[in-house]
């Protein structure tokens, strides 16, 4: 007795399954019909194009016959008849399916690509898409790579063919057009045939096809006896892996594949060729050949912010979703930024008022400042001016750094110290020289104070309070050994800050002292003998070089005897 209800149950289940399958089939058929319609329209367009082209050709021939002397008057004719300009990218009504409000990173690029791809397929302004006769068959709806590159150079105002190739490769990699005989989605500037992808498969539809669909696809390819549908090695491996992964529902997948094959068989032969290749290109994007870049990968920081997680399309073959609508784990509804509260707007208003009141520099001054700076530093910029000695990375010769590290800075480097006080202090050698100069003027306490505060700012938090106290004692307290000259206002502020000493307690004082050094001591430093001597690379008698010079003079004066000459020669070469 127990068996009967179970059997009934089983029968019910089977019936339900059949119903489901029937529904699924109907859905699929609908989708297929849609695609077929699109394909029909495309074909009709192509036929129209062909006829148009033939007409045009005939017209041209006629014109040539009528104007045998056109070559003589042609130059004049050219001047008087302006050529129709190529329509700029923006004025065309965008055929992109991307929501114009969608500012997410990938969509922006898809929109640009779709604009191009729509134009390139345009009947009148696009590339010639034709059916090519080959051996025993016809290859429908193709265009050569060279045609694409040429069109792009002409219509996108690109002068460099390498750049056209770069953009073309980008578009191919996203699968918007594809080589009909290769899984690798790249563009070649030759006679290789390419076909355009159907909008249904465009990446901007937010495709995230599941492995079950991929399994169905690979499975149905094995069921059809066509060489062009044979699986590549990596696809066979993928199929084997999927069979293991989906072992329990393989029967279901197999049946789906069979259903697909049935549907495909009903289609027109030419349509099938086109659709099959488009389907394959789709999978080449989403399951790329090993070693090829997967263009569907997204920056994890961005994909968490996808606007419409429910827009994501997952099923190519209209499979009923198992269980609940499985949302992509990376598409979590993000916090779409903080929503403005009343407080936010009030804060914004006070901020804006500050902006309004701020005094801004005029553009001309700003531009001047930028030009001056870059001009000054360009000779020090290794990417603009070749370095002397050579750049260690190119020559594998580290002598450039050896010179930098040596005690004797180059003239070029010394000159840089004259650009600004900041520049002089940045370089340790410059800092040393400036300090030496200040010591000669008995005003080194300013720089020492400034350096001490810089050091204190970098100390660990627990040392800061002590350092602050030490600096006060050394430089600011009454009777301090290195008393600095601070204005009363900064003095007040600083002593107040020190009640709760922190890293920034001396910032006001530091700024004041810096300005003092800049306007006073620094200017004198640049004029000083100490700096000028180094800048002009003047040789001083007390130095080693000076001694050598006097020895040379002595050697020369000894006489023009052979020995003397040899000695001189030796001296000169050392």
């Amino acid at each position: 007795m127990a068996e009967a209800p179970q059997q009934q149950q089983e029968v019910k289940e089977e019936e339900e399954e059949e119903e489901q399958q029937q529904e699924v089939k109907e859905e699929e058929e609908e989708q297929q019909q849609e695609m077929e319609q699109q394909e029909k329209e495309q074909q009709e367009k192509e036929q129209q194009e062909e006829e148009n082209q033939e007409e045009e050709q005939q017209e041209e021939e006629q014109q040539e016959e009528e104007q045998p002397d056109s070559s003589e008057g042609s130059e004049e004719a050219k001047e008087s008849v302006p050529m129709p300009k190529a329509r700029p990218l923006l004025s065309m009504r965008s055929m992109s399916i991307v929501d114009p409000e969608d500012k997410s990173p990938n969509m922006i690029v898809y929109r640009k690509i779709e604009d191009i791809v729509t134009r390139i397929q345009d009947e009148t302004e696009g590339v010639p898409i034709r059916t090519v006769k080959s051996f025993m068959t016809k290859i429908p709806s193709v265009v050569t790579g060279a045609d694409i590159v040429q069109w792009m150079m002409k219509n996108l105002a690109i002068e460099d063919p390498a750049e056209a190739m770069h953009i073309g490769s980008l578009i191919a990699a996203q699968g918007y057009f594809f080589p009909i005989s290769d899984h690798v989605l790249s563009l070649k500037d030759d006679g290789t045939f390419y076909r355009f992808q159907a909008p249904y498969f465009w990446p901007s539809n937010c495709w995230e096809p599941e492995n079950t669909d991929y399994a169905i696809y690979l499975c149905k390819r094995t069921m059809q006896n066509k060489t062009r549908l044979e699986l590549a090695d990596y696809e066979a491996e993928n199929l084997a892996r999927l069979q293991r992964a989906f072992a329990r529902k393989w029967e279901f997948i197999y049946m789906q594949a069979e259903a697909q094959v049935k549907i495909d068989r009903k289609k027109d032969k030419t349509e099938r060729k086109i659709l099959d290749s488009q389907e394959r290109a789709f999978w080449d994007v989403h399951r790329p050949v090993p070693g090829c870049v997967n263009t569907t990968e997204m920056d994890i920081r961005k994909c968490r912010r996808m606007k419409n997680p429910h827009r994501v399309k997952k099923s190519v073959y209209g499979l009923a979703e198992e269980g609940t609508q499985a949302q992509s784990p990376i598409h979590t509804p993000s916090h779409l930024g903080r929503k403005g509260t009343k407080e936010d707007v009030e804060k914004e208003i006070s901020f804006l008022n500050l902006q309004l009141d701020r005094h801004c520099m005029k553009m001309s001054k700003v531009a001047d400042s930028l030009m001056t700076y870059t001009e000054q530093y360009m000779e020090y910029d290794p990417f603009v001016t070749a370095t002397e000695p050579s750049n260690p990375w190119s020559s594998d010769d580290p002598s450039f750094w050896d010179v930098e590290a040596s005690k004797e800075p180059s003239q070029q480097r010394v000159r840089k110290w004259g650009f600004s006080l900041q520049e002089a202090l940045k370089d340790h050698a410059g800092q040393e020289l400036f300090l030496k100069f200040l010591e000669s003027e008995f005003s080194s306490e300013n720089l020492r104070f400034w350096l001490a505060v810089q050091d204190m700012k970098r100390r660990p938090q627990q040392e800061v309070a002590q350092r602050a106290q030490e600096i006060w004692t050394e430089f600011l307290a009454e009777g301090a050994p290195s008393s600095i000259n601070l204005d009363s206002h900064s003095y007040e502020r600083t002593s107040h800050n020190l009640k709760d000493p922190g890293r920034y307690s001396y910032v006001d004082a530091q700024d004041h002292i810096y300005k003092l050094m800049k306007s006073d001591s620094y200017a004198r430093f640049l004029r000083s003998n100490l700096y000028q001597d180094l800048l002009m690379a003047r040789k001083k008698p007390e130095t080693e070089q000076g001694r050598r010079t006097s020895l040379e003079k002595f050697t020369r004066s000894v006489g023009k005897s052979l020995t003397g000459k040899r000695l001189t020669g030796l001296m000169q070469s050392s």
């Binding site: 930024g337 009343k342 208003i349 902006q355 801004c360 001309s364 930028l370 290794p382 190119s394």
Partner: protein, 340 residues
């Protein structure tokens, strides 16, 4: 009218006044002002070294100060310190979380930091006593991914996060000293001014903000981009800011003029900017893109003067060494390349 609407209207009217005031300051445009100077000659940099070792996408790199050492972070869960001249790996630090998005080298050379989807900034001591590199601190408080971090010194570090804030930390105590809030979208990148007094942040609200580190205040906001700002940097003299965005353009904003000076764009550049770095003099801007290339711009003339094509996947990070001698690019193809 509802109070919010009134407030918004007031804000908009002040914005209009500001726009008008800025326009009044435009006694010339940068393009006009530089009309007299010639474009920098074509810049052709070659790959001098390729740093191999990572096994997955590289998301970030940062040069050490005054050195040939640099650090890189990859989703293979490793932080590698390279001697770029010899291409040797000085340190290979295994990370707890492999979803790392940023890394930084302290100016002293003693510490490196990294972070990512773990919402934390981990500080590693390279000069530990026994020679092992260990985690020194884990700075945790952000409620979103860590997008960028930069050291002020061995004691302080600034981080930017997907929770729309930037934070100044005291490394010793591991606490937040200041929270810089104001952005209305994920903060993607930050850069510290040459004098260490300010920093700038770029965010997914399409704006860049200048912050006073000491005063905990946003001093200026710059808008104009049409999509997320992914990369940001200071012009070498600290008076201007360069931004790179998903709208495939870079922009130069001047701090003293408080407005945009110029946009670097080309109709044949379709993919977003992921990273950027100015050359030593600031005359060149190198920008890494999603389309695997680096574009080199003449900063003043806004013309493209070079392209670096050598990576097989997105260029995710770029940096110019302190002495300006070399540029390093990191990519999703798992390699770093040194160019000059």
């Amino acid at each position: 009218m509802d109070e919010m609407d009134q407030l918004r209207k007031e804000a908009d009217s002040i914005k209009d006044q500001i726009t008008a005031a800025r326009k009044a300051g435009q006694d010339t445009s940068l393009q006009e002002a530089v009309a007299g100077i010639t474009v920098v000659g074509r810049v052709q940099l070659k790959t001098r070294k390729t740093l191999r070792g990572h096994l997955a996408k590289i998301y970030a790199m940062h040069w050490g100060t005054d050195t040939t050492l640099c650090v890189s972070a990859s989703q293979d869960g490793k932080l590698i310190v390279w001697d770029s001249i010899s291409t040797n790996k000085v340190n290979a630090i295994p990370l707890k979380s492999s979803w790392v998005m940023t890394c930084a080298y302290a100016p002293s050379g003693n510490l490196v930091a990294c972070g990512g989807l773990d919402n934390m900034c981990s500080i590693y001591n390279l000069k530990g006593k026994d020679g092992n590199v260990k985690v020194m601190r884990e700075l945790a408080a952000h409620t979103g991914y860590l997008s960028c971090c930069r050291f002020l010194s061995d004691s302080e570090i600034i981080t930017s996060s997907g929770d729309c804030t930037c934070v100044l930390w005291d490394i010793e105590t591991g606490t937040q000293k200041t929270v810089f809030a104001g952005h209305q979208g994920d903060c993607m990148s930050l850069a510290v001014s040459p004098d260490f007094k300010f920093f700038i942040s770029g965010a997914c609200d399409f704006t860049a903000k200048l912050w006073d580190i000491r005063e905990d205040a946003c001093r200026q906001t710059f808008s104009g981009h049409e999509s997320d700002i992914n990369a940001i940097g200071f012009f070498p003299n600290g008076n201007a800011v360069i931004t790179g965005s998903d709208d495939a353009t870079c922009k130069l904003y001047d701090l003293r003029a408080d407005q945009e000076l110029i946009t670097y764009q080309d109709s044949s550049i379709m993919c977003g900017v992921t990273s950027l770095a100015p050359s030593l003099s600031g005359r060149l801007i190198l920008a890494g893109h999603d389309d695997f290339n680096v574009n080199i711009w003449d900063t003043l003339k806004a013309e493209r003067v070079g392209v670096l094509a050598g990576h097989d996947n997105r260029v995710s990070c770029i940096g110019v060494s302190t002495d300006g001698m070399a540029c390093c690019t990191g990519s999703w193809d798992s390699f770093l390349k040194i160019w000059n």
